[in-house]
């Protein structure tokens, strides 16, 4: 279960997750560190302060669900699930390798705790919405959290889901945007501007918050607010920094989908150790 972790604990867990992200992409020689590091503080707080789950009973019907719509950030997801006790750290060495359960993008049920296959961008919100509507039909208290990227929401399907969740007033659905401002080809505002984000989501009928996605207290409070919203879905737009926590990765588009060298990796791990 997630309950009971202090914010101080969560920060420590976040530090370990950051290290595991660096290690996985280094071992694999590829993967997506930038968006994994930008979402680390959000996901650490969500899993270890807010979400109801039981790693010993992964199919518990009333658990909360997490859908990683920005599915390329598997290093973050796998690190988080390993911290949550779903599987052993040893598996992380197999990330992206042949015959591994840790696929480049998540595959549902390959390992306990992976709720859904994602990776083709733009699909997670509709999936999360279906889960949330289904949980309501099941009279389950389960809630659904969907993490999207701000580049990802250029996909039209996101806005179809934004419309339908607003229409159905699906209040057991919480969207989280890891708004790091960058995508593979460059800055989101240059490639295809998605601003003004808060206005757009509000216009689609969502309760909307904008926070600093690296401020644990702010994330914690925003999640509480979003979870308690009734009569509409809630979204938290988290302003983040791609590659957060590693100086030479922060704000560097290249590290969206490039692994650091072994030497860079050692520096990164050292920086994380000192900074957090």
């Amino acid at each position: 279960m997630s309950a009971g972790h202090s914010l101080q604990d969560v920060k420590e867990i976040g530090k370990r997750i950051r290290k595991k992200i660096i290690q996985q992409v280094t071992w694999a020689g590829c993967g997506h560190p930038g968006g994994s590091l930008s979402g680390t503080d959000i996901l650490s707080t969500l899993y270890f302060r807010k979400m109801r789950f039981n790693a010993q009973d992964p199919q518990w019907a009333d658990r909360d669900r997490f859908v990683l719509s920005k599915g390329h950030c598997t290093p973050l997801l796998y690190a988080t699930l390993s911290e949550a006790g779903y599987f052993s750290d040893d598996l992380l060495t197999s990330f992206r390798k042949i015959d591994s359960k840790l696929q480049g993008h998540p595959e549902k049920d390959y390992l306990p705790g992976i709720e859904m296959s994602t990776g083709a961008l733009g699909q997670g919100l509709a999936i999360g919405h279906g889960m949330a509507l289904g949980l309501k039909l099941n009279n389950s208290p389960g809630r659904v959290f969907v993490m999207m990227g701000d580049g990802e929401i250029q996909e039209g399907m996101i806005w179809e889901a934004a419309m339908s969740a607003g229409h159905y007033k699906t209040d057991n659905l919480v969207g989280i945007i890891d708004a790091n401002g960058q995508q593979i080809d460059g800055n989101v505002k240059d490639i295809m501007d998605v601003a003004p984000l808060a206005d757009k989501w509000a216009a689609f009928g969502w309760h909307t918050q904008v926070i600093d996605g690296h401020d644990y207290e702010a994330i914690d409070a925003a999640l509480d607010t979003a979870i308690n919203v009734t009569g509409k879905p809630a979204i938290i737009i988290c302003k983040t920094v791609k590659g957060k926590g590693v100086s030479f990765m922060e704000g560097v588009v290249k590290f969206h989908g490039t692994a650091p060298s072994v030497e860079q990796s050692e520096i990164a791990l050292q920086e994380i150790e000192e900074k957090y």
Binding site: S117, A126, G130, L137, S164
Partner: protein, 317 residues
């Protein structure tokens, strides 16, 4: 004259039966519920019906999510839009995780008629059957459609069902039970195997009678399951007859005929003629007239059978 009944009406009726027997069944539509007949379910079970608006991708993703929490979603639209617009969510969010989502589409084929080419799905069998985990069914009439939908509810996994808009001659009766292991043999014969699906089945029945009158013995099989293909049964027929005609209201590229020919090329190369649309788009017009114009006719099947049999005779020994 043979009684005509619409497969989509069977779908609406089957959904109501499932709604009564299984509380986990949910139905999604994309603003065509009156046409697909999911509105019949919506009227009886409003809390388990979700109109997603004109947004097929969202419908597919939402259906996937329903499945993740144990519901049994049926999602429907016209074949063109659900399989076309939502192909990638169907592939990646339904089939890749092997979810229990039934994609049931109406208005397939050229008999959509007056709405014209943009609404006439002639590629849907092809694009659905190439996706791993997906099964593909094309019932021949109202009774088979109803029996299939009810039987599918107990068969987990992603499924595509192709239904027509218009009323078509009935082939079976109300006692029909869908058999997932074997195709219905509508007529046994020894000169040519005639494999038909969907609305081509009653037309193939007429063609078989015409051929019979001309002294040609036809083995007529209703290929209601295009994936997984019942290969043994097909091969058994083909080895007996040595000549094949496939007939489908679909492009000859990638559909049922292609599936059969893939099987035969590997296991029993045999002269085969394909009755279907010839890599062209359709157009507006009366459905029955379009069927004839685009070669989906009794006459075309008869010609194809004669051609296949002639090729059998000329086969180098």
């Amino acid at each position: 004259m043979t009684e005509k009944k619409a497969m989509r009406d069977a779908y609406g009726e089957a959904l109501i039966a499932l709604g009564n027997s299984d509380a986990d069944v949910v139905v999604l539509d994309a603003d065509l519920s009156g046409s697909t007949r999911t509105a019949m379910f919506a009227k009886v079970f409003p809390n388990r019906f979700f109109n997603m608006g004109i947004a097929e991708q969202d419908m597919a993703g939402t259906a996937a999510g329903f499945s993740c929490v144990g519901k049994k979603p049926f999602m429907s639209s016209f074949a063109m839009f659900a399989t076309g617009r939502a192909w990638e969510p169907i592939r990646n969010s339904i089939c890749l995780p092997n979810l229990n989502v039934k994609v049931v589409c109406t208005h397939a084929g050229i008999t959509v008629g007056e709405d014209g080419a943009c609404h006439q799905a002639l590629e849907d069998i092809s694009i659905m059957r190439v996706i791993p985990h997906m099964s593909v069914y094309v019932p021949a009439d109202y009774y088979e459609a109803r029996a299939l939908i009810i039987a599918l509810n107990d068969k987990p996994g992603p499924v595509y069902v192709r239904l027509a808009r218009a009323g078509s001659p009935v082939v079976f009766d109300e006692n029909y039970q869908f058999n997932f292991a074997e195709y219905p043999v509508l007529q046994s014969g020894s000169d040519v195997s005639l494999f038909a699906c969907g609305q081509m089945v009653p037309i193939a029945q007429k063609a078989a009678q015409t051929l019979q009158a001309a002294g040609i013995s036809v083995d007529l099989i209703n290929i209601n399951t295009i994936k997984p293909l019942h290969g043994d049964q097909i091969l058994k027929s083909v080895i007996k007859t040595g000549a094949v005609v496939t007939a489908e209201e679909h492009s000859i590229l990638g559909g049922m005929g292609s599936a059969v020919s893939e099987l035969l090329a590997k296991n029993a190369p045999t002269p085969i003629e394909f009755v279907g649309t010839q890599d062209v788009f359709g157009e507006s017009g009366d459905g029955d007239l379009l069927m004839v114009k685009y070669g989906l006719s009794e006459a075309r099947i008869v010609e194809a059978a004669q051609k296949a049999i002639a090729r059998k005779a000329n086969r180098p020994s």
